[in-house]
Amino acid sequence: MVKKSLGLFILILSIGLIMMGCPKKTVVKEEPSVAKSEEARRLEAERAEKEAKEAKERELAKIREEEAKKAQEKEFERSLVAKKTPGIEGEVFESSLLKDIHFDFDKYDIRPGDAEILKENAALLSKFPKIKIQVEGHCDERGTVEYNLALGERRANSAEASHLPRHCCRSHLHDQLWKREAFRSGS
């Protein structure tokens, strides 16, 4: 449609120019400006309409996005289960949407398949920049307590070192080992 009007415009312009070649001046001269402003107005109107339409679409998309985000937040919130530890300060929640990774016995390096899990967890958590994340490194009771603490420390750090906070391997029994908090909140 633009091209058509442009073509038309050019035609009008050229007609105007041809007419300008004749000794008659005034009447011929005014014609292109009038046509121009009409065309310009038409173009502008078209453009404005288009912009309005696009703006509306953007707004709709924005609303949809926000709704999706809210839905996701709600889903995340719903997935949160309070972790009750009476003798430890503060409130902690766990989410079933965040997956644990496991370590081989006596090891603390991230296994190949687990890197993907960590990325997924990070992607989810990055949508909630205001929450504080705690990384836990656990060990099971097959080992001895103090050496397990050292391993747990390294495992939590191992996960953190990939710059992605997440929960680590599962503990079989009650010997839960907490790691220090990884702060991700801006505030």
Partner: protein
């Protein structure tokens, strides 16, 4: 809780002729020793002393002697009728009549409670039945509430006479007890009596370690969501947070002079052995490898520290100088050796090693020679720690199902549970002698 009671000790020199030369009764450093049969006649209740009191003293006494592992106690209940009712201390000339009892040593005594009902006197004499001679006599006087302590003094003395070294009957053992999802710290007497809960915070409390002066216990707790180091008095009061660097502040081990603590700290991204001073400050990193370091244990002379490191690829026992220099590896067998505990005698290190999926207690010379296994075919046995005289080892074992604290002689004999509790106990720490 523990009061230094006014104790009156008097040597009783009597008509018995003391021996000029000491007979070697029991060489407890031998890998296996035969227990000495000791006759313990019924104790006499002097004047108006209630017989129940004497019975109680006798019960504690006989139990101490049995628990020591050095003696085979011939209790008066098992004596022939002619001897069963004889109470108190026999005159020298009458020692002969005790021969049929089958003992080599005789321990006789009496209890005496003042008319005020508060002051207790324990008097005992020790005799060599083989050589028919008197060995020692003593009297202890103190407050009635200190009955147990006073009886323990008697049995400590008997051990001194027979083995050349005082017993450890007046010591206490701290340990952790799993309660639901929490671990709390408890303390028990050496004979399993007076079990007391020290922490009551429902958190996870780990690795109790007695201060050398016996007044405080250091331990790690997750009270504030980080494994911090705390101090607490024996009565459970005066809880103070001692070290709370981010990450681990765990597995404390006091220097023998009580001025420093070696511990595991994670503030540099992994667990290393650090030293901190008496105020919990001035952290100094000792270990410098890429491995995970754990479980420091100070040598009795304060010059070296044993610890666990997996720098070779698996957790093994190492020793370093107290400034972190001169690191040398001690264990080479098997691929999981942890929880070192340095003997107060200085010559051996106890640890637990995993072979075939099972943990057992071992001791090894500090130069890495003379490996000795002390437990076998009895579940998982972990966390060894020595008595202050270096003649006993306390450890945790799940041989009866749930984990319990056990005690054994250093040669592995006489393994017995510390308390009668149902279990879920671990991580023992042995106090100094309380006099």
């Amino acid at each position: 809780m523990l009061k230094h009671f006014a104790l009156l000790v008097s040597f009783l020199f009597s008509v018995f002729i003391p021996s000029a030369e000491a007979r070697v009764y029991l060489d407890i450093d031998q890998p296996a020793f035969v227990q000495i049969p000791i006759v313990v006649p019924k104790w006499k209740s002097v004047d108006k002393t209630p017989s129940a009191l004497s019975e109680k003293a006798y019960e504690i006494l006989a139990n101490d002697l049995t628990l020591s592992g050095f003696f085979k106690v011939i209790d008066y209940h098992r004596l022939p009728i002619s001897l069963r009712d004889k109470e108190g201390i026999p005159a020298g000339a009458l020692l002969q009549e005790w021969m049929p009892a089958g003992g080599e040593i005789l321990l006789a005594g009496e209890t005496s409670l003042d008319p005020n009902g508060l002051t207790l006197r324990l008097r005992f004499h020790l005799f060599d039945l083989v050589e028919q001679k008197h060995l020692v006599g003593k009297q202890y006087e103190g407050h009635l509430q200190n009955l147990r302590n006073m009886v323990h003094r008697v049995t400590d003395e008997v051990a001194l006479q027979i083995t050349g070294e005082k017993g450890v009957n007046n010591t206490k053992i701290a340990y952790t007890v799993l309660q639901g999802e929490s671990k709390e710290i408890f303390v028990s007497d050496f004979d399993g009596a007076n079990v007391r809960q020290i922490t009551q915070n429902r958190s996870i409390n780990l690795s109790p370690a007695w201060a050398p002066d016996g007044k405080k216990i250091a331990f790690t707790s997750y009270l504030k969501r980080n494994p911090d180091l705390y101090l607490i008095d024996l009565d459970g009061k005066n809880l103070s947070r001692f070290s709370h660097y981010p990450g681990l502040n765990a597995s404390p081990s006091w220097s023998p002079d009580g001025k420093q603590i070696a511990l595991m700290m994670g503030m540099e991204g992994k667990s290393d052995i650090f030293l901190i001073d008496g105020n919990g400050g001035n952290p100094k990193k000792l270990t410098k490898s890429h491995g995970n370091e754990a479980s420091p244990s100070w040598s009795p002379d304060g010059k070296e520290i044993a610890f666990v490191s997996d720098r070779s690829g698996s957790p093994q026992i190492y020793v370093m100088a107290a400034d972190g220099s001169d690191v040398r590896r001690v264990t080479y067998e098997a691929n999981y050796n942890t929880n070192p505990s340095w003997s107060p005698k200085g010559d051996r290190i106890a640890f637990c090693g995993r072979v075939g999926g099972r943990f057992n207690i071992y001791t090894i010379g500090i130069d890495g020679t003379g490996l000795q296994r002390l437990t076998s075919d009895s579940g998982n046995n972990e966390s060894p720690c020595w008595s202050p005289d270096g003649r006993y080892i306390a450890f945790s074992s799940n041989r009866t199902g749930r984990s319990k604290i056990f005690i054994m002689n250093v040669n592995g004999l006489n393994q017995r549970p510390l308390t009668e509790s149902k279990g879920d106990e671990s991580s023992p720490s042995w106090s100094r002698r309380f006099e």
